[in-house]
């Protein structure tokens, strides 16, 4: 049992789903040179609703002013939105009308869904890995090799449920990021935080 326990130390909290997402946001914040935001992870532990309940009982919760929740849209972005809003309602937290937006109340609360916003302004289905794939260097010729590999695997009968997740790890596997998980690759500099697709996240983080 670790001796150091997780305490609320900052007024602005980002709550994410899992250690990879936690590292992703920690290194995004470092790139943006933003202090004063603490990233907490609930992934693999509990439902968001019960995590928010436990969080609300934590020492110093009263000092937290802003809460940004990040999770994957998975296969149904609308269901993910409803799920987050339900969790916020159950914990008497203000519920924004949709992702990449804020609601004010006892705390300032917003949420984002990965991978994010499509070119038509709609909320995309998918995961954080999809976003990360979009943040890779798409001028790298290895990208074409990765595409070919995935196409070959699919034509050979492999059921590829999340193509971007597979492509991301295939890309890592043949670059200096081999063996790294998403968060570790973010730490190692694999992602280009300046890409336009990351702009909605940057806006939300800066508005916290």
């Amino acid at each position: 049992m670790p001796t150091t326990k997780i305490e609320i130390k900052k007024e602005k909290l980002i709550v994410v789903e899992g250690i990879d997402a936690k590292l992703f946001f920690i290194y995004a914040l470092a790139h943006l040179q933003i202090d004063g935001i603490q990233v907490l992870s609930y992934g693999g532990i509990a439902e968001l609703s019960s995590y928010l309940k436990a969080l609300s009982l934590s020492p110093n919760y009263e000092t937290a002013k802003t809460l940004l929740i990040c999770r994957d849209a998975e296969t149904d972005a609308q269901a993910a939105i409803q799920s987050i809003r339900s969790s916020l309602d159950k914990n008497n937290l203000p519920s924004p009308g949709g992702p990449f937006d804020w609601a004010d109340g006892v705390k300032r609360v917003g949420f984002v869904l990965s991978p994010g916003v499509g070119s038509d302004g709609g909320i995309l289905n998918g995961t954080l890995e999809d976003l990360c794939y979009a943040l890779l260097d798409n001028k790298n010729p290895i990208m074409a090799c990765v595409d070919s590999f995935l196409a070959c695997a699919a034509s050979s009968g492999s059921a590829i449920r999340w193509p971007h997740k597979s492509k991301l790890h295939a890309y890592f596997a043949v670059t200096k990021y081999v063996g790294l998980k998403l968060g570790e690759a973010a730490r190692a500099g694999a992602l280009d935080w300046e890409k336009e697709v990351f702009d909605p996240y940057v806006r939300m983080i800066r508005e916290m």
């Binding site: 049992m1 326990k5 305490e7 509990a46 019960s50 309940k53 436990a54 969080l55 009982l57 020492p59």
Partner: protein, 360 residues
């Protein structure tokens, strides 16, 4: 069971409310947030026919005298030493016929006491002439017990030469028993023997053995053995001779005391300060499990305090598997000078522990 408790002007609490309480409630928090005070407040309502409430404030801190003299004797139980405010301790129960109980404690300046011990200088002197003999002067402390808004018992506590005197009108003994255990490491073996004997005489002692078997699987039975004018609880663990339970280890010895307290407080309450003292964390799960089982069997409510993360984690583990609803954890926080309880259900403490959040 007590569902909720409200405390005003008592020691650390200016205005404190805690709801709900569970069958077993574990209380944590930093130093000086009122964990022991909460136990004192609950015990005061049960033990209202004894001035022990006052004396415990001194004994618990190693004082065998009253600092500042007799006129200051009541100070420690009043929030900020403000004896002009009334202490109120209010219980709400989960049964309708026993809905609300209140204990009020206040200074009664019309009930002054002046004690002059025998042997004092009795020479005639003016009222302002200082005597060369000690005198004790104090106002009385009124302790008023009411149930469902009706005062049914009024006591006056005054200073006596060798302690405190309590005079009670309409004495109404609490039919529900209570027991309070301090945080000291060593069990009171004579008290253990007395509690065991009180169970044994009614053929109710055998179940106590079963609660200890998780910690000492060899244990076949318990008995009280008298040595001169002292009695000790012995255990049979298959050796050539029976062994005092106190010699089997701190964990089993503490658990014996706790189980005996619960078993002798059927339908009542047991209050345990710093429950983890003297117990290795690896034994705490089984101790919690058996406290939970005993509390159910004897319909006894348990409120305990802790400073230990491992103790809280062990409780989560001990109450798993069908006893989750019997447990809650409460952390007392100091927020803007006020003590505020944060109540974790079994589920929320589980999530917090799994997420390695700070919960103490």
């Amino acid at each position: 069971m007590i569902n909720s408790i409200a405390i005003e002007n008592f020691k650390r609490f200016r205005n404190f409310k805690l709801s709900p309480l569970s069958r077993v409630t574990l209380v944590g928090g930093a130093n000086n947030v009122g964990k022991t005070t909460l136990l004192d407040a609950i015990f005061a309502v049960y033990n209202r026919l004894s001035p022990d409430l006052i004396l415990r404030q001194y004994a618990g801190r190693g004082f065998n005298f009253v600092p500042g003299g007799a006129e200051n004797i009541w100070w420690p139980i009043f929030n900020e030493f403000r004896t002009d405010r009334e202490i109120r301790i209010l219980f709400n129960w989960d049964t309708n016929n026993h809905a609300e109980e209140k204990l009020s404690v206040k200074l009664n300046k019309s009930y002054a006491y002046n004690v002059v011990p025998f042997g004092s200088d009795v020479a005639v002197r003016g009222s302002n002439t200082p005597s060369n003999q000690p005198e004790m002067q104090s106002y009385a402390l009124d302790v008023i017990y009411s149930k469902n808004n009706q005062d049914i018992q009024v006591s006056h506590v005054t200073v006596a030469p060798n302690g405190l005197l309590m005079k009670t009108d309409f004495s109404h003994e609490n039919p529900k028993p209570a027991s309070i255990m301090g945080g000291r490491l060593i069990s009171d073996y004579a008290m253990d023997a007395q509690m065991f004997g009180s169970l044994d005489v009614d053929y109710r002692a055998s179940s106590v053995t079963s609660f200890l078997k998780d910690l000492e699987p060899r244990l076949k039975g318990l008995s009280v053995i008298a040595w001169g004018n002292k009695s000790v609880v012995y255990g049979d663990i298959g050796m050539e001779k029976k062994m005092p339970v106190a010699f089997m280890g701190d964990g089993i010895s503490r658990l014996l005391t706790m189980i005996l307290a619960i078993a002798t407080c059927r339908d009542g309450v047991v209050l345990i300060d710093e429950i983890e003292n003297g117990i290795h964390y690896s034994a705490m799960r089984n101790i919690w499990r058996n406290i939970g089982k005993a509390a159910r069997e004897y319909n006894c409510q348990v409120v305990a305090t802790t400073h230990s993360y491992e103790c809280i984690a062990a409780a989560k583990s001990g109450f798993a598997g069908g006893m989750q609803e019997d447990f809650s954890y409460v952390r007392l926080d100091k927020i803007n000078g006020h003590i505020v309880p944060k109540v974790y259900t079994y589920d929320s403490i589980s999530v917090a522990l799994d997420a390695e959040m700070e919960v103490r």
